[in-house]
Structure formats: C-alpha cells, structure tokens
C-alpha cells in the first residue's frame, strides 16, 4: 500500500467525508427525536396506565392539575420558539443571516424561559409527590421535561453562537445561508437538525400539554 504514492487522481476525501458528516447530522437529529419520543412515550404510558387502573380510586380524586397557567405558558413558548426559528431559518436560506440570528436568539430565549418556568412550576405544586397518582406522574414528568427543554435551549444557543463566530468566514461567499463552503453547509445541516428536533419537540410538548392539563 505504502508504495502506491503515484499521482493518480483519487476520490476527493474531504468532500466525501463532508457529505457523510452532513448525513450523519441528519441521522443523529432523527435518532435524537426517536429517543426523546420514546422517553416521553414511556411517561405517557405511565400516565395512561395508572389512570386506567385508578388503584384505590387514588388516580386523581379531586381532579387537580399542576398550574394550568404556567403549563400553558410553557407550551406556548415552545411552540412560539419553533415558529420563530422556522421563519428565521427560511429567511436564512434567502441570505438574511441576521434575521435568523435574531430569530434563533429569541427562540433560544423562549425555550430557556420555558425550562425555567417548568422548574418554577415544580416548586409551587398544589400537591405532594405522594398525594395521588397524577401528582406522582407529574412530579416525575416535570424534571424530565425541564431537562429536555433546557437541552433544546442549549442546542439553539450553541447554534446562534456558532453563527456569530463563523459568520465572517462565509460573507464573501454569500453569507451563511447561501454559501457552499463546507463550514456553512455544516452549519446549515446542524440548523436543520436542531430545527427538526425543535419542531418535533414542540409537537411532543403540545401532546403532553393535552395529557397533563386537559385529559387529567
């Protein structure tokens, strides 16, 4: 092998692995959604299973829920973040980088605030963890949800910071939204991944809003 150092044209390795890593980003974001959906699915199962068993009539005897106002705010913030990011990303594709940066920053802010609210909600519950079935499942759901929201916020925040950091490198090539530089393509692949995750997470949030504040 080592003797084979002639000047034959070979596969453009950089391009090959660049494409592969774009694909890997795509795959990983889908995988992440699958994992988070399964994680939440397990909690939804716990919810509906205990609700249907209603052991000792202790599922939710007084039909209490956690604070609906806070819950609704969390849900609205996440859905809003998804929309803001979605329209921002569309404008990015038209070359308007700053528009997305503002949108992304707001989306990150919304999500992080939602995470904070989720933690705050846990500190002001109208019940004890052991009070009844719904209470238990909610107390379990809260920290998971807060963690997932904050990690989503982290993803958005890192993406915004990345765009700030590498923006200049792509200016000559049409900006981050249009440039065909590997660094810009990688950035857009990451953004696609994060957007896909955020959008899916918004759907999950709506579903769990319905579960914890409407069905209960």
């Amino acid at each position: 092998m080592a003797s084979n150092v002639d000047e034959r044209p070979v596969i453009d390795e950089e391009a090959y692995y660049h494409d592969a890593s774009l694909g890997a980003t795509w795959t990983a974001s889908r995988t992440a959604v699958a994992m988070v959906a399964t994680l939440y699915g397990g909690l939804a199962f716990a919810f509906f299973y205990l609700q249907s068993l209603n052991s000792n009539g202790q599922w939710n005897p007084n039909h209490m829920t956690a604070s609906t106002i806070i819950g609704t705010t969390i849900m609205v913030l996440i859905v809003a973040a998804a929309f803001v990011n979605y329209f921002g990303a569309r404008r990015l594709r038209r070359g308007l980088v700053v528009d997305w940066q503002v949108a992304g920053a707001f989306a990150a802010l919304f999500v992080i605030v939602a995470g904070g609210l989720q933690i705050w909600e846990l500190t002001r519950l109208p019940f004890q963890p052991s009070s009844f079935g719904y209470a238990s499942v909610f107390v379990a759901f809260g920290p998971v949800n807060a963690l997932a929201i904050l990690l989503t916020g982290y993803g958005l925040e890192t993406e915004v910071m990345k765009s700030v950091k590498i923006k200049k490198k792509a200016i000559a090539d049409g900006g981050l939204g249009l440039s065909s530089l590997p660094i810009a393509e990688q950035f857009r692949a990451n953004l696609d991944g994060i957007s896909f995750f955020l959008n899916s997470f918004a759907v999950i949030t709506v579903v769990f809003y319905v579960i914890f504040y409407v069905v209960a």
Binding site: S55, N56, Q128, P129, S130, S131
Partner: protein, 294 residues
C-alpha cells in the same frame, strides 16, 4: 472449485446423495426417541397428575418434547454429518460456491411457519379449555371451569415471608396449613399484603403471582390425594428462598373434619381478622409502616 471425485455430479444429485443419508439417520433416531419420550418417559414427567392442571402441564410438556426431538436431531445429525464429510482435507481449498437455494429456503420458511402456528394454536387450546391451565388470570378470569357450583374457595395471602390461607366458606378462618379435598374444583384467590410474591403449588400445577391489592384467580381440580409443596416463585426479599410450606390433598370427609375443627379452634382469632375480602390494604401510616413524609 475443485471437488473430489466422489462429489462430482450435479448439485442436485449431490444434495440427494448426502441428503438421503441425513434424512434416514434423522428419521430413525427421531422416531425411536419420540416413542421412548411418549410412552416411557412421558407418564413420569413432572409435575405429575395430582390435579387437572398439573396433568395438562405434563401433557403439554410431553407434546412439546416430542416435537422438539426431531428438531434437535435435525441439527445434530446434520451438524455431525457436515463436520465429518465437509471438512478441510488439508489442501486449503474453498467450498462449493453457492449463495442460496430457493427451494430449501422456501421449504424452511413454510415448515417453521406451520410448526410455529400449530404450536401457538395448540398452546391456546390448552390454555383456554382447561380454564386457564392453572395460571393466575387476574381479578376477573375469562376462562372458568364448566361447573362452578361446588367450587372450594381458597384465598392465598402472601406476606413477607409466609403464605397464609383464608377459607370464606368456613367462617373466613385463616390457617397456615393448606389442606384440600380430592375430586373438587378449587378456586385460588391469590393476593399479597406487601410486595409481589408468587404462589406456586408445584404438584397442583398452579402458579399465580401474589400482587398487592390485586386478586389473582387460578383454577384447578384435584384428582389424586397426596402431599404437595408450595413455594414462593417471585423474588420477595431476604427469605424468598425459605418461603415454602407443604400441603395435602385428602379425602373429602377428612377435609371437612379438618376444616370444621380448625374453624372452631380458630374462632377467637378469626374475630380479630379483617372482614373477608378479595384484597386487603393494610394501613401504611400506622405501626412502623410510615414511609411518607407528607
């Protein structure tokens, strides 16, 4: 690649030559073993025939073994033949180039599918017809014995780490011993006062998890007298391994004698017991049971 002379000929002919030998050995061995399993070993298989459900389990085990023997031999005979016949003869040649055989594959899919579906059908029949095959069916059983009028009710209460039994037809008395009348339909109502246990009356062919706050019903019909062992079959803590006791199936008259004498003897104790119920919920907030802070 280079085949030895005795292996020349069309692949189909070679397959027929080796295949017919394998099939012949396989068939003879399977037949002999199956006959032995069915007629010699089968009648002595655990858990015996003390009850209908035990007999059913014995029968199922026997049928599955008879079906397994040819499968075992198929792999063994084939494997042994191949190891002897198709080994490297020191020339480091490669084998016959073949990536599949549609007929063989189709046959395999068909046979395994038929076998599996037959077994599932057989298992379902053996589960449904003998009223749940002695397995716990939960609080509202769907497969019941035909005749439920003269059924003896026995409540099995598992607690860490002993079984006790309550007899609603005998004044709701509670005992540590389990005595049953022969030729009687029995309904076991299995429940627990704490963690999950499992009531396994081995010779009776009855197995049902004892879940807290759940009544798990299992049916069987005794048909022979004798001694049986009851073991806990779900890990329940330190004394799980020691959680067993023995019971007896006795004649109906002996049973009634035992039961009525126990009823009188235990009358003062029975008064202290909670009212008979399908499940019991001991209060965790008294005695040393406190676990909650709220």
């Amino acid at each position: 690649m280079a085949l030895k002379t005795e292996d020349s000929g069309s692949p189909a002919a070679i397959a027929r030559k080796h295949g017919s030998r394998i099939v012949a050995i396989w068939f003879i061995l399977s037949l002999i073993t199956d006959l032995v399993v069915w007629f010699v070993w089968g009648p002595h298989m655990p858990p015996g025939t003390m009850t209908t459900s035990a007999a059913g389990q014995q029968f199922d085990f026997k049928v599955l073994t008879v079906m397994s023997v040819p499968v075992l031999y198929m792999v063994w005979v084939y494997g042994a033949y191949v190891i002897v016949k198709f080994r490297d003869r020191g020339d480091h040649e490669d084998g016959y180039y073949m990536k599949g055989n549609r007929k063989t594959q189709a046959l395999w899919y068909a046979v395994t599918a038929v076998l599996v579906l037959t077994l599932a059908g057989f298992g379902t029949y053996e589960l449904v017809i003998p009223a749940g095959a002695g397995v716990g069916e939960g609080p509202s059983p769907i497969w019941k014995p035909a005749d439920t009028t003269h059924m003896l009710q026995v409540q099995v209460i598992a607690q860490q780490w002993r079984f006790t039994y309550r007899w609603p037809q005998f004044g709701g008395m509670e005992t540590t011993s389990l005595v049953l009348p022969v030729n009687t339909e029995i309904q076991f109502n299995v429940t627990s006062l704490d963690v999950i246990h499992d009531f396994w009356a081995y010779q009776l062919g009855v197995k049902a998890d004892a879940n807290p706050e759940v009544n798990n019903v299992a049916y069987t019909k005794t048909q022979q007298t004798g001694r049986f062992v009851v073991r806990c079959d779900e890990l329940c803590g330190i004394w799980h391994g020691a959680m067993y006791n023995y019971g007896k199936v006795v004649s109906q008259s002996a049973f009634y004698q035992w039961a009525t004498s126990m009823e009188t003897q235990n009358a003062p104790l029975t008064k202290l017991l909670p009212k008979y119920s399908s499940v019991y919920v001991p209060n965790d907030n008294v005695a040393g049971g406190q676990y909650f802070n709220g």
